[in-house]
């Protein structure tokens, strides 16, 4: 019984990892940003829109994880497609790892960069462009991981 379903178990494990690792990273990152943003807002409430954007920057990793998970779900017979064999299930699992792990770590570090950018903005409200750019650099690596995950899953 287990053997028959082993493929889908592996694949689901992959989808779960992609969602929860990347999602946890984003939650940590956005949480850090939120605390810093709330601190700035006590003194400068007019910066709300800008610090909100900075706070949200580490939130994208969670979305990327979700994205990969959905594409997987659409291929293994849950939202569409057919149940994979055990080998193929393992391949799905492997394909989900890049966005899961890189998403987790990059979101945490992007959160730290966001916190720093929020303090930068608090002191120099006119440097929003630069403040936004610094955390966005970290995201590059999440995007690269997403790309590898997505291209692999799409091909499987």
């Amino acid at each position: 019984m287990l053997n028959e379903n082993l493929g889908i178990v592996y694949a689901l494990l992959g989808a779960a990892l992609a969602t929860f690792l990347a999602g946890s990273g984003s939650a940590i990152g956005v949480g850090m940003g939120g605390r810093a943003a709330a601190g700035v807002l006590t003194e400068k409430p007019e910066l709300f829109a800008k610090v909100l954007i900075l706070q949200l920057l580490p939130g994208t990793q969670g979305i990327y994880g979700l994205l990969v998970a959905f594409v997987v779900l659409g291929k293994i017979g849950i939202l569409g497609g057919t149940a994979p064999t055990a080998d193929k299930g393992l391949l799905f699992l492997a394909a989900c790892l890049p966005i899961g792990v890189a998403g987790l770590i990059s979101a945490i570090h992007q959160g730290k960069a966001s916190v720093a950018s929020i303090s930068l903005l608090a002191k120099r409200p006119d440097s929003f462009g630069r403040a936004m750019l610094l955390p966005a650099m970290v995201e590059t690596y999440a995007i690269l991981a997403l790309l590898v995950s997505l291209l692999t899953v799409a091909r499987l």
Binding site: L56, L57, G59, T60, I63, F70, R130, A136, T140, L146
Partner: protein, 669 residues
């Protein structure tokens, strides 16, 4: 289309006219003052006036805050769009004459606010006292009564609940010799038991000791009145304090109709302070003054005429020799993205305004990242409505909305090219509610569907990236050639072009490319040979000219290091893969929302649930992806594109003007 050319203007005149000349310059709003090397100490009356203006700004601001607290004016979400009220310079002048009355009003409001605060504090204090007196209510003697000639009275409370017997037992235990005393309990509860003990003077010490052992405490409040009387007094105090606070509040609220005067006072004082502080940056002697600044060339002659007609001043216009402050001017399509360039930095010495070229790529890349026709059309409609409905919104807000309008147009175009309208909403609706067979596609992509052929889109992303980067490099080349730095051009630009084009032509027919794209691009043999020569020629140019001004050995070593920069190019191009990733993110999540929305199937209930999930889901998805597209378009421009040619570092053109006001705006004349 570029940086506005500037001219230098020197104005000299009689000291009596300094103030009027400054006012005119401020009204015209096109004079960027060059401050004197050392700030001069001006006449004391100027300093006094400046202090007064600054004080007025502060008072008006505080008074407005007081007014807002007791008589809030509805702001709401769209308040930032309505913009400032326009006033003609004549009306401004007229209202300005009323400034003293407004300042008096502001002072009056601040005083009322202080009174309200004092009254509130009094009421709060009375409340505390009333609470402190409450337990002693039944006491028929003054609270500070300490006894008669031969007796002592202890008025206070024991913590916890006590009865008459338990206290008597306590006294019997610690002062057994005491037999004549009077004890009265005044109610009390579980937390404390108020009591009055009257005993003979000689027993007082022992009795006090007994009570102290159990934590006896005298009342916090001491008064020579009976608690009843004191309580009545306190209650009266509190009532009158509350009444006073209410009266003052009502008086503040009655002034709500004069809010405009305070706002005007704030703006008028802001302009005055700005003008007066520029006084200190202008030179003056006992009888004359001079001030120097930059004026846009197109406006210089008109300003000169205006000044010379109105005043007895001498105005000298010269061509500037060094760097001038930077003002950007672009056509209607590109101007909105000036804010993006400004947030990176204005063009420095010898640089061009990159706005026009950048804006085209900006809209193109933004649209590709969001790439949904539905979201694009929403942006277009939203921005167009806001721009139409609130024509007086601030300048930067207007630029921003116009920019998103064009981004929306691009997003809609890309959406139709990729066949995405709120994801696959049209197909899902057709299949769920109108019985279209599931295998028939209703909205077809004009170009191709990214999720079906991600590799194909990835290749296109790289192609657009290479074009973007090559344009950036090209701008650098043009600038270098303009400055006649041919060797820098050979080593910094031409070398890269040759090497990269050569490498690309070697890559295209290779197996490696075939394995990514699915099929190689066959190039004729002569081109393949040419590719090798191009790459070698480029590499040699880089090797020789990247550091041509150094000694031979160092020159080659630095040249070789420059060749290593090819890895930088690789990562720059790879960076454009975010176009694919973000585009897919929008599309896939939109499709997921549609799938979830249609899970209840057709029928009325299905339709209602569909609409709810659809609205919530797409709002969220659009917001998040808008943010993503905005951030990453900026990144591609700032890091990849500007990195190739643009250094920035220019000083902004900040004329003495009337733009810093908050509530009113002076019309230009």
């Amino acid at each position: 289309m570029a940086i506005v050319p500037m001219q230098k203007m020197l104005i000299c005149g009689a000291i009596e006219e300094k103030s009027s000349v400054m006012k005119t310059l401020q009204r015209q709003g096109s004079f960027h003052l060059i401050p004197l090397e050392e700030e001069r100490l001006n006449a004391p009356e100027v300093r006094e006036a400046l202090t007064r203006a600054e004080k007025r700004i502060q008072t008006a601001e505080q008074a407005l805050r007081v007014l807002q607290q007791y008589a809030p004016a509805g702001g709401g979400m769209l308040a930032s769009l309505t913009g400032a009220e326009e006033l003609s310079p004549e009306d401004w002048e007229k209202r300005s004459g009323n400034a003293d009355a407004a300042a008096a009003l502001a002072e009056d409001l601040l005083q009322k606010d202080r009174r309200i605060n004092e009254a509130n504090a009094r009421a709060a204090r009375a409340q505390v006292q009333a609470e402190g007196l409450a337990p002693w209510k039944g006491l028929g003697m003054p609270l500070d009564f300490s006894g008669t000639e031969s007796t002592r009275a202890f008025i206070g409370a024991l913590p916890g609940a006590w009865t008459d017997e338990s206290i008597r037992a306590l006294l019997a235990e610690y002062c057994p010799q005491m037999d004549a005393y009077s004890l009265e309990l005044l109610g009390g509860d579980a937390s404390q038991t108020p009591l009055v003990l009257v005993c003979l003077k000689e027993d007082a010490e022992a009795a006090e000791d007994a009570l102290r052992r159990k934590g006896f405490a005298r009342p916090v409040i001491t008064t020579d009145k009976t608690p009843e009387e004191a309580l009545n007094e306190v209650k009266f105090d509190r009532a009158s304090a509350i009444t006073e606070a209410e009266e003052q509040k009502a008086a503040v609220q009655a002034a709500a109709g004069r809010r405009g005067e305070l706002q005007f006072l704030y703006d008028d004082a802001t302009l005055e302070a700005e003008r007066l502080s520029s006084f200190q940056k202008a030179g003056e002697s006992r009888t004359a003054f001079f001030v120097e600044g930059y004026v846009p060339k197109a406006k210089a002659a008109a300003l000169q005429k205006k000044l010379e007609d109105k005043f007895t001043v001498s105005v000298i216009i010269t061509e500037p020799d060094g760097e001038t402050p930077v003002l950007l001017q672009n056509n209607r399509l590109s101007a909105p993205t000036e804010t993006v360039v400004e947030s990176y930095g204005l063009p420095g010495k010898g640089e061009i305004d990159p706005t026009a070229i950048m804006s085209v790529f900006y809209y193109f890349l933004f649209g590709m990242m969001l790439s949904d026709a539905g979201y694009g059309l929403l942006m277009v409609i939203g921005c167009a409505v806001a721009l139409k409905k609130f024509p007086k919104m601030g300048r930067n807000m207007k630029k921003m909305l116009t920019m998103f309008f064009w981004c929306g147009v691009s997003t809609a175009v890309w959406g139709f090219l990729f066949g995405s309208f709120f994801g696959d909403a049209i197909d899902v609706i057709a299949h769920t509610f109108f019985g279209v067979p599931a295998d028939r596609q209703v909205l077809k992509a004009i170009w191709f569907t990214p999720l079906d052929e991600p590799m194909r889109l990835l290749i296109y992303c790289f192609l657009f990236g290479i074009i973007h980067l090559f344009v950036g490099l090209g701008i650098k080349g043009v600038l270098l050639l303009k400055e006649k730095r041919t060797k820098d051009f050979l080593g910094g630009v031409l070398g890269w072009y040759l090497l990269l084009i050569g490498l690309l032509m070697i890559l295209l027919p290779s197996d490696m490319y075939a394995s990514i794209a699915g099929a190689p691009v066959p190039l004729p043999a002569w081109m393949q040979t040419a590719a090798k020569f191009l790459a070698i020629a480029g590499a040699v140019l880089l090797l020789l000219f990247a550091a041509w001004d150094k000694k031979f050995g160092l020159r080659l070593a630095l040249g070789a290091y420059e060749l290593y920069g090819v890895t930088g190019w690789l990562s720059d191009v790879l960076s454009y893969s975010r176009l694919l990733a973000l585009g897919l993110a929008t599309g896939v999540i939109a499709s997921v929302i549609n799938t979830m929305a249609s899970m209840m199937g057709g029928g009325v209930i299905g339709a209602v649930i569909f609409i709810i999930v659809f609205l919530l889901g797409h709002t969220l998805n659009m917001a998040i992806n808008l943010l993503g597209a905005y951030v990453h378009t900026n990144r591609l421009q700032f890091v990849e594109f500007f990195g190739k040619f643009y250094e920035a570092g220019g000083e902004a053109f900040e004329p003495l003007g009337t733009g810093d006001t908050k509530y009113y705006h002076m019309e230009e004349n």
